[in-house]
Symmetry: C2
Subunit: 376 residues, 2 copies
């Protein structure tokens, strides 16, 4: 994997860059739609690529490990061939899911024992086997196995957790070096910076991860309950320590505002379920502000969904029709909302990139933020 | 509306024709995907038109009357402008739904009192107000309000029911003539032939409906529990009486086999929820036979869904991936299956039409039937 830092916008830490992977290149800053089970919910691959213009998608190791399982993925020749998504992909380590979704029974030095949310079957994730699983999946970017404490964790817990995460990272890296890609192309492994909202822990973590000559570094454990201002401060603290010449990935974040604030502070990569999950619930992010499409006020609004937005659905469907579909519980509502929202997020990071390259990011950001965060 | 009978295939009653409506022309025989709430479940309009090549879709008066309601539809300027589907549309009368979906409390000479399946609210459908509602919806083809007895109804009930349907038809027609289209284009009204599986009742009904100079005639009350052979015989009996120069629409039918048998007996138009509903449940109609995609045997079948079928999803996705999505309860499974199945149905009627025009329908039909009805 290759990362080129192309430009840093005047008066900010906002960066434009380019990542090369075996499955194509990615222009940063970038938003990665979440494809949990190797499908971005509600969006056909063709539309994800050609309409929303996704450049890389994320899949969840926890979900793919349970279904279809590594055996099927290996027989298919990896997740790209299995799913038909031939662009770049990233997998998380499954850590976040076993602590949240699954019933993590026991966490100790070895790893985490958990019960599947599907059938209750018992499993163990360790730093080593999580790397093996990600080798079987075959994403271009793999993530280290970490513990992710809540955003309000007391310092003592945060510190103990960070130490465990660091020891796990060393084991992940060792397993990464001991193993080879299964499908003939490079897989990168990104370490994850933790430390809750404690600046000294974040600094310590951001220093520690650099022991490993990774292709990129991630910032984890944010947007998990702490105030947004704390998150922004942790990003600043962390990015001050992380190397400039590697991509920085802020995990699981966030709202359009979170993303712009993080871009301004030097983050290059994002993922979040918000555009799809909130879309399924009727929340539409538009170029004019945020719409709750269930609201009575859209009942007879026959104007296009978002005429200034780039997806074909924005001109093809009206607010009143989308409201009708949503109220009626029609699948098509989720399809339109998901495609629109994902296309909107990708449009937003493309716009950010354009303004970084133009050196107009600092002026553009507050103007666009005011528009798109308005509740309509 | 204009219908041109283009050709009848040698040795059969299978017909090829063309219907002209205000929203475009339709080549028959045709399958009409069902868009209950003005959406064919799981399929974006663009894909319905460009990929599946749908020429006309059906919407349900009962559903649209309840949601979004005629007031919203009128403000939008009719269902085409409301939904964004700009091709031909047909609405049923709501009769079938009030007898099945809704709780039809009381049926008498006046009409049917029923409780909404959504909120239990009380409503009355009469032959007159069902025409008014369809005027407000604005489909190109409207259907008469009829009673649809079960396929096993005893003759006395069938006869009484047919007489009520005939009186209702006269009232529908009167209301149709008394009212004007609301959006400046012609709306046709199709009477419906009933009579359960009693040849003399079907004949009497097919004669009666011709009192009304309609643009087309429908055959209702079939595929509601009677043996398929009875259905085919009723189609023969009915089509022997219906005029040759008007399109014939067999309502709510059916499997690919049902459709080919009915085409052979001179039917021109079909609708059925089967491709979408069964698709959502994992049943895939392919050019090689019928697949239950949940079956273990597809787990590691990485071949394309149906290489010989015309939808882009047929080459873009594999059986193993579609199985994974289905087993995982992913929305995308329903989207792929629905688009594939609808495209398959439309491909099948296009093939039928081609073989009718070629005079090879009689030879082609048994060959294709053998292939596509196989359980894989």
């Amino acid at each position: 994997m290759f990362f080129e830092l192309q430009h840093t916008a005047r008066g900010t830490a906002a960066r434009a860059g380019r990542i090369e992977t075996a499955h194509g290149s990615i222009e940063t800053p970038i938003f990665m739609p979440v494809g949990t089970a190797a499908t971005v919910k509600g969006i056909l691959h063709r539309d994800l690529k050609e309409d929303a213009r996704a450049q890389i998608i994320l899949a969840n190791t926890y979900h793919l490990y349970l279904r279809p399982g590594t055996q099927v993925l290996e027989q298919a020749g990896g997740v790209h061939r299995f799913s038909g998504w031939d662009g770049p992909m990233l997998t998380d380590s499954g850590g976040f899911q076993v602590f949240s979704l699954a019933d993590c029974r026991k966490i100790d030095e070895e790893g985490c024992r958990f019960a599947s949310h599907i059938d209750g079957s018992k499993h163990l994730f360790t730093p080593e086997n999580v790397i093996d699983t990600q080798r079987s999946i075959g994403a271009d970017i793999m993530m280290a196995f970490d513990e992710c404490p809540p955003g309000t964790a007391p310092k003592e817990y945060a510190e103990r957790s960070l130490e465990l995460t660091n020891r796990w990272l060393a084991r992940c890296w060792e397993q990464y070096e001991r193993t080879q890609p299964k499908y003939g192309y490079r897989q990168s492994l990104f370490p994850i910076v933790q430390g809750v909202t404690y600046p000294d822990l974040r600094e310590r973590s951001a220093t520690f991860v650099q022991r490993f000559p990774a292709d990129g570094y991630a910032i984890g454990g944010l947007a998990v309950g702490e105030p947004a201002e704390d998150m922004y401060r942790m990003i600043e603290v962390t990015n001050a320590v992380l190397p400039r010449d590697k991509p920085r990935y802020l995990m699981g974040v966030g709202t359009p505002a979170n993303i712009l604030e993080a871009i301004e502070r030097g983050v290059d990569m994002f993922d979040c379920v918000m555009p799809t999950r909130n879309g399924r619930n009727g929340m539409i992010f538009t170029t004019e502000g945020i719409i709750n499409i269930r609201n009575e006020k859209w009942r007879t609004d026959f104007s296009p969904l978002d005429p200034a937005a780039p997806s074909f659905v924005d001109a093809a469907y009206t607010k009143a029709y989308l409201r009708h579909l949503t109220i009626s519980g029609e699948m098509l509502a989720a399809q339109i909302a998901s495609l629109h929202n994902v296309a909107f997020y990708l449009w937003l990071v493309r716009e950010a990139r354009r303004h970084i390259l133009d050196d107009t990011f600092a002026e553009w950001k507050p103007r666009i933020l005011e528009k798109i965060t308005k509740r309509l």
